[in-house]
Structures are given as structure tokens and as C-alpha cells.
Assembly symmetry: D2
Homo-oligomer: 304 residues x 4
């Protein structure tokens, strides 16, 4: 099976308490572990130990993006492929990292530190596995409380090269692409989990994180998220609006330290026989923001 889905995103924040307050009280994640300089969080319907880790650092940035892999055999196969491609791989074993066991780490052509994790501590969802309610009882209250993390979008100087690596080496499938006037990829959307995207790459500096995104269940939850963000004076970047690419509904916003978050819903359910959708440069505005039909400066320039 190879890679299953986005596992967790590790970012750096200059204020652990502020980050914890925001990711629990506004986003509605649960804190699942804490050390002197790190805090771990999960969404209510996630089984795994965490889908977000924040580490103290004076600079806002990204440490690592981690994808979940099915089994040891797949991990070993992917390890070989990455090494054969020419990148050095390091192994993490059980006990070396909080909440997870056997994993590999490497850098990618887009300059991102990536991790494939085979074994994670399973904490279970907030609903039981016997006779469960469809939602967690009593308590989400007025936080956004998405059921799970959805995808990540990174920047790369060479989008085609980065995309080739993610497809040929890591097995991602291309759902959509944005081409410039010469037919060269300036944005690519790739999936492993039969959703419109688990990983996307757009033109920009190597190693950059544009945003990570949470799943919401429908357009009304997107509005509810906007209400909560506005009530908490969180800066909304763009939205509520719809993407042309993925068809999804979205809000972009910044956590109080400056990392861009997204809430996302909708879109199709692509199987591996899904035909890639292509967007032309003259429709780039609609491709990204279908209602506005244009990109704002901040959305294009700001990343961490």
C-alpha cells in the first residue's frame, strides 16, 4: 500500500503557551503529550498519537512533514527507493521519538525534511469503537474541532523536479496541475489517501511551508469555523471561498505565531484511475480561488 496519508506536521513556534492555547481552545485539538520544548496535539477523530507537534524556537518555521506508511516492508521499500534516488536516509527506532516507533527521515528535492512513519502509538478516537455516537459527546463547544488533519502544501524552486520525486519515489498520484504558459508545472496536487490531495507543491523557495489543512465535514462547518476565528480575532487570510483546484471549500488563516492554517472540505474522491486535471496559467486565479478569480499578494508571498 505504501504511504497512507499525512501523519503529522512538526512546526516551530516562539511561544509554546500561546500555541497550546490556540491549538486547543480555538482549533479544538487535544494535547496528547508535552516535554520541556515540545507539545503534541491530535484531532478528535484521529487514532494516532498526534497530527501536529510544535517545538519552541525563536523563529516560526517547519521542522518536518511526516506521512504514515502501512507496514515494515513498505517502509523498507521506500527507504531503498529514496536512497537509490540519491538522498541519505536515517532510521528512527521505537523509544527515540515521542508517540512513534520505526520511521525513516530524509530530505527531498524541494528541500523539505520528510519522515515516513510505520509505527505510531494509537490513542484512539474520541468516540469508542463499540456502539459509538457519530460525534464526540458533550464538549466540543465553541472550538472549531476538525475531525482530522487533511493535507500540507509546500513550496519548491523546481516544482516539476519535486513532483517527480514525490510521484516516482514516494508513489504519490497526480490529481491536478497548474501549468505556466510554456506548459511547465508551477503547482501540483498529489494524493495517496483517495482524497484530492495529501501533498501539494507550488513555486517558491525550497523548504517552505505554505500551510497545513484540517478537514471539516461541510460548508456549514466552514462558516462555523469562520465565526469562531473572527470571534477569537484570528487573522483570516482568504475565505470562506471555493478552490477551482480540488473543488474544495476553504478558509486560510494564520495561527497567532504566523503559521498559515486552512480548513478544507468537499472535493471529489479520486481512485488511482482518476484522470489528472490541468489548469492553465490564464485561469490561475480561478484555479486557486474560484469566486475571487484572483490571487492576493499575501497568499502568494507569505509562507513559513
Amino acid at each position: 500500500m505504501g504511504i497512507l496519508r499525512l501523519g503529522h506536521v512538526d512546526i516551530t513556534v516562539p511561544d509554546l503557551d500561546l500555541a497550546t492555547a490556540y491549538y486547543t481552545e480555538v482549533m479544538g485539538m487535544s494535547e496528547t503529550a508535552r516535554t520541556a520544548d515540545r507539545v503534541f496535539f491530535k484531532c478528535w477523530d484521529e487514532q494516532d498519537h498526534h497530527s501536529l507537534a510544535v517545538r519552541y524556537d525563536p523563529r516560526v518555521g517547519i521542522d518536518r512533514i511526516s506521512f504514515k506508511v502501512t507496514d515494515d516492508e513498505d517502509l523498507a521499500t521506500l527507504e531503498q527507493r529514496v536512497e537509490r534516488y540519491g538522498y541519505r536516509v536515517s532510521r528512527i527506532h521505537r523509544g527515540e521519538e515521542i508517540g512513534q516507533g520505526e520511521s525513516i527521515r530524509f530530505e527531498t528535492p524541494s528541500g523539505h525534511k520528510m519522515e515516513l512513519v510505520r509505527e505510531v502509538e494509537r490513542l484512539g478516537s474520541d468516540v469508542p469503537t463499540v456502539d459509538p455516537a457519530p460525534r464526540p459527546p458533550g464538549g466540543i463547544g465553541r472550538a472549531i474541532a476538525p475531525p482530522r488533519m487533511d493535507h500540507v502544501l509546500v513550496t519548491a524552486e523546481e516544482v516539476p523536479e519535486a513532483t517527480r520525486f514525490y510521484m516516482d519515489v514516494l508513489g504519490f498520484r497526480l490529481t491536478e496541475q497548474l501549468l505556466d504558459g510554456e506548459g511547465r508545472q508551477i503547482g501540483t496536487w498529489m494524493e495517496r489517501s483517495h482524497s484530492p490531495h495529501d501533498l501539494a507543491v507550488v513555486s517558491g523557495p525550497n523548504g517552505g511551508l505554505h500551510h497545513f489543512a484540517y478537514w471539516l465535514d461541510d460548508w456549514t462547518e466552514v462558516r462555523d469555523a469562520a465565526d469562531i476565528l473572527a470571534y477569537n480575532a484570528i487573522q483570516i487570510d482568504v475565505g470562506p471561498t471555493r478552490h477551482g483546484i480540488t473543488r474544495g471549500a476553504t478558509i486560510y488563516f494564520f495561527d497567532p505565531m504566523g503559521t498559515r492554517n486552512e480548513v478544507f472540505t468537499g472535493g471529489y474522491r479520486p481512485d488511482p484511475d482518476f484522470p489528472t486535471i490541468t489548469w492553465t496559467e490564464e485561469n490561475a486565479g480561478k484555479a486557486i480561488f474560484y469566486y475571487e478569480g484572483e490571487l492576493n499578494e499575501r497568499f502568494m508571498k507569505v509562507h513559513t
Copy 2:
């Protein structure tokens, strides 16, 4: 009872065919009458002859705003009040104007041509009055198709004076107001129909129309409207978003000739004992656009 609701808005357009195409095929109104230089439209759940009239003129503008009045006695009372206030009133009788009978016309302190109409031709809703379906059968298709017109927002140099006229003379009730630093009204929202507003006034030149608005039934219909607008390459001004004032959800957009339209839903249901809500200038951004928290230049400057 006095004034019941917004009756119809009469605007000028430089292209009757384009206006007709847009208001029927994109907005989904029905054309109910046509002369050499005018076309009349109604929404599917409206009983009256028309809620929008367009007249050919090389310049985009507004002819008149018309409110519906209960009966002859109320019309006469309101006529006297307007005259006593010092404005000249003219009478329109049955046969003089398409789709309507006994009416009065006058200019207001905000420089708007206003009409109170007592008698209108009743065409009936698109659903019957015996054993009706909850929506019109087979045919709204991919137009927005709001059930009815909702409100109008005009500009005035002297908002407090204009508001006083609308309240004291015409009987509007103040649901919300936006005050500047000196406590002076720079925007007022008034109702007669037990909805958040039938008429609103904001600072600007006398005689200006900021927008007229259609009602939609929920936030999902607002998204559907945005899909249709974007598909038809209609310029969206702002939204989908939420107002602080009225709590309503909204999209502002321009018809192809340049008149601003709105689709609107939500909000409370104020009875006459509703306590006026006040917004302070430092929260003006949130008051107008609750998610963005700020006003864009175009929204502030463009009117017809």
C-alpha cells in the same frame, strides 16, 4: 400597518438585452412585462407584478425605490405626513404605470425618489395556493433563483437627518446603527417587515444606490449562488462572508452593467420591541464584514 416591505427597485441600464439576460438567466427572475424601454422582473415566490424594473438609459443609475403599503387609508396618512414634513407628493393612479395602481411619489431628505404603492397587480407565486410544493417544480436549474427581493441600501450626506425622516415620517424602526467617534450615525438599518432591514442608509452622496439585495434561504444557497456567479464570470465584490450588522451571510457582486447586487440570508427576526444594536466606529470593519474585519476601497466607494 403602514409600509409592509420593499416593493420594487427601478434602475437604469445601458443595455436592456444584457440586463434581461443577466436578471433572468443568472439571477433566475421571471420577466413579467416589457415595453420599448423598460423590462419588469419578479422572483419566484413573489406575488406582486415585479420587484425589479430596468429602464434604458445610457447611464447606470437608480430611478426610484418603491415600498408596499397596506391600504388606502395608510397611503393617505403617509401622504399627509410627507407633505407636512415639507416634501411635494405626486399621485399615480391605476393605468398610469405598469403593474401597479394607486401610489404616491416624493423625494426624501437623502435625495432619493421614493414611491409608496398601495395597489399592485398580483401575478402570484410560481407555486400554487392549493396543495403547493415547497419549491417550484422543474426548472430553476442553474440560476440563483432567490425567492424574493429583501432590502435596499442607499447613501446620504446626512445619515441622521435621513434616518429621522424614514423613522418619524415613514414609520421605519431602527434595528442597528453605526456611530462615529462623536456618537453620530454614519450608518443606520431600519425595518418594517420584521426582518433585520428593509432599508439602510450609509454616508455618501445624496441619491446614491449602494446595492439592492435578494433573500436566499441558507448559507448553502449562498455558496451555490457564488458557484453560479463565478461560472458566469460575474464580478464578486465581497463574500461569501458574514455581516456583524444583521448577522446575515452575504455576497456582493455587480450586474454586468455595474449595479451592485447582494444575496443575503440569516439574521434575527425583530419585533417592534427589538432593542437597537449599536456598533462603534473602531469595530466598523467587523460590523460590515465580520470575517475580514475590514472594508475594502471598492465597497466603500462604488455606488450607482
Copy 3:
């Protein structure tokens, strides 16, 4: 203006603690006052002291239905009209009843104890009147939390006679009626607040309460209400479904003591010139439950 809206419903319950637990923790109303044998509740967006009062009694039943009236003049006028119709009216003055002042009480031809209340203690909504958020901050949580009470449906042996009283004496306007094969009213829906109904009457014993209803803002909130009801093991009577009459979306359910509640949304916004909609007996099923097209026994038989 006369009657503005449904003011409050007073019911009897055999267990005050259970009633309080249900109406606060499941329905999400606030408790606003309490005596030895009574508890008072309001919804979050209501200004008035209470919209529901429960009184201890070994038998589940209804004490009184109260409508809010604009001013003293209107109260006096309505008092005269009721007396002239032949019903004895008693006056309640400030200090005699919790949360309200000047009021009149009388029995109606349908055998209901009715009250018109002019003066009520105003507690205000859970959102402020200056720079308010569109919803109450932090805390509705997993209760249904409707913004306000909406309407009441009662039973009467003689629907036409009861309807005539409510229309001619109290000024209600008929929005919809269900006629039997002989064209006789077996159900009537009437409004004062420019909503599809504030008061409805269906065939049944005199003095019976079929249900009272809370307003919800959209169909997604109706689903959320169903989730909460099911999670709390509250017996759902019918729904989520849609009414043909009023077009509204609905769930009927029973409070744990046996009084039928409803959550309701949607429908049109009738002004006084709204043409009455008529339903024929052969479409009675669709009229009441548009999706099912038939009435269940329990819905027809059970009232309090």
C-alpha cells in the same frame, strides 16, 4: 400593532428536576427564575424574562399560552374585544406574576387558557447590544440551544369557531388551512409575527396542547438537533422531515415527561397581504409530512 408574537408557554410537569435538566442541558435554555413549584427558562437570543415556564403537577399538561402585546392601548382594545365576544377577562398587574407586569387572562372557544402580556421583565439576549458577536461566545456546547421559541399548536373540537375567534378577536391572520371533504377547516395556521405561524389549531379535544416549537436557523441545525436528541436518548416522534404546510423543516420529539416539542426552521415570510394557502384532505399526509406523505397514529393521537 396588537399581538407581536408567542410570549411564553406554561406547562405542568411531574418532575421539576428532570424538566430543568432536560430544558437546560438538552435544549440549552437558561434558567431565569425558580420558586418552590415553578422554573422559568429562556432561549439565548430572547430578550424577555422567559419563554417557557414549568409548574409541578402530578399530571403533564398545559397551564397557559401567553402572547406578547405592544402597548397598553392595544392591551385595552384586545381586552374589550374579548369581553364583547362574551369571555370573562382577568387582569394581572406588576408584582403578581414572576417576570411580567400588566397582562390579561381569559379562556378561548378552544378551551385554552390564554394570556396577553404587555409588560415583561427584559433580561436581554446572551449577546450584547453593542458590537455583538453573531452568536453567544463559548458555551452552547452540545445542547440544541435554539435562539428563540417560535409557535404553538393546540387542539380544538371546533376548529372553524376557534379560528374565527383568534382571527376576529385577537387579530391573527390565516396563512394556511387544511379542509375536509366538505370544505370545513380541520386545521388552521395563523400568524402575527410575519412568520408562517405563531398559533395553529387542529381538530382534537378542547384545551389540548399538541406541541410548542423552537426556531432553528437552518436544516443543518435540524440535523445537529437530531444528533443531540438521539445521543440523549430522547424519543423522536417524527423527523427530520419537511412540512408541506409552512414549507418548514422539523423534528417532533417528547420531553422526558411527555410534552411534545418541535424544532422548526424555514418557511416563507408572510406579510399581511399573503394569500392563504389551502390544503385538501386527500393531501393531508403531504401537508403535514411532505416526505412521508402520511400521518402516523402517535402524531394524530398524542397531546397534553
Copy 4:
């Protein structure tokens, strides 16, 4: 990869014209091919030639359930596994069957004729693959128009045995199961497409079809579907309601010939590491219909 998703369902109908009218005008599928005794249909967002085929037969019934397989190698592997399990497999080649090429057919332990299809004619979605709109332009109108087929539920005398076959031989993964008092499976829900279920089996006669289901995008579309069904006098079996199992929202209804259809939305997105959810018999009512908490006779007894 093995099986990707439900490919198509082939049913028999006693009236081809009525079936065509219903599946195009009420369900909103497109007719993609027709012979003397068969008609083929697809949903607007499906790429493949058809997802439903109807064949004339005086009796309403099911011909075959077809799943889509990735490639020839997978088809050959699955063919061997089915044969090794003791079932005879027949091959269909290109040109032998409308709209599809290389395929295998066999009977299953639950008495169903099943097909795995590797090659299908690709007609493409109603939206293009270059710069597409998020929905098909102008024309869905007032049909339900689901984007795609979702899953199928069949009956089997021996649910555990049938489930074992589907899991061990065909590679389905168990997302949920309903156990009787002795811990024996009386219902199982299985997936291949990372959705809550592509195939489900409940106790009943071998070879029976309980229903096939279409995907809808949200709860508001479920209501819209109910409006359309009721308007067209289609018999609704149960719903709108929610399932405990899958968490999905649903309506069951019958096509005019008697085959049960479902519209379905929501639910989680299970990866292969999803922990199976178990429902106990005492909660069987809630498991199937979360709001009603009980099963109706018709739902339990009627299948085709």
C-alpha cells in the same frame, strides 16, 4: 491495488421506459447506451461508461454486481484466488459486453453474481479535465443528480462466511460489524475505496439485493433529494435520517419498479489501519437508524 470501487450494478426491470424516465429525470443520471432490452446510465462525475444497467425482465431483480480492478495483473491474481477458493470463473473479453472489456465473472458464497472489470470504456465526467467548473454547468435542474454511485448492500444466509470470502479472497477491509448476542456477525460493512463501505452484507436470503446507493455531497443535498422524491411521488422508505454505522446521512426509497435506492453522504474516511467498529445487537436500531433507534418491518423484509 486490487479492487478500486463499485463499478456498476445490473438490475432487471419490467418496464424499460419507466426505468429510463426515473433514472434520468428523477435521479438525473445520463443514458449512455441502449439496446433492445438494456439501458445504461452514469452519474455526472463518473468517468466510466456506466454505473447502472437495467435489463428488461418481467421480474424485478439483480443480475450482477461489478467492481472495478486496477490492472490485468490484479485481475489475474483475483481470478486465481476465486478459483482456488472453489468457484468457477468465466472471462469476458473486449467486444463481448457493452462499455467494458476484460472482466471476470463468478458466483459468491452469498449467492451473488459478481464481476470484476479491468477495462471499461471511459466517457469522462460532465466537467472537463482542463480548467473545469466545480459542477456541471446549466442543466442538472430539479433532478437529484448525484455525482457518483457509492456502494451496494446485499443479503446472505451466512454473513460470516460471505464476509470471509469478500475479505480473504477479494481483499475487502472490514470497517464495521453488527454482532448478535452470541457475537456472530449479522451485518458487515467493507471497503476498498477508503470510504465507510463499498459493499455490505446483512442477514437474509442468498442472492438478494437490499439496495444500491448514490453519493451526495452534504446534508442539504439530502434534503433537496427528499424534496425531489416527494415532488415526484416516489415512495420514501426511511429518512432523511442518520446511520449509526458509517455515521452517514441517508434516505432510502424505491424506484417505481421496486428496487430500493439510497442517497448517502458523510461518514469518515478509513485508511487500511482503521480499527473495526462493532455494534451490539441491543443497539441494532441505533446502528441502522440513529435517530429512530428502531428498524421498520419494510426495511427488514423487502429486497429484490
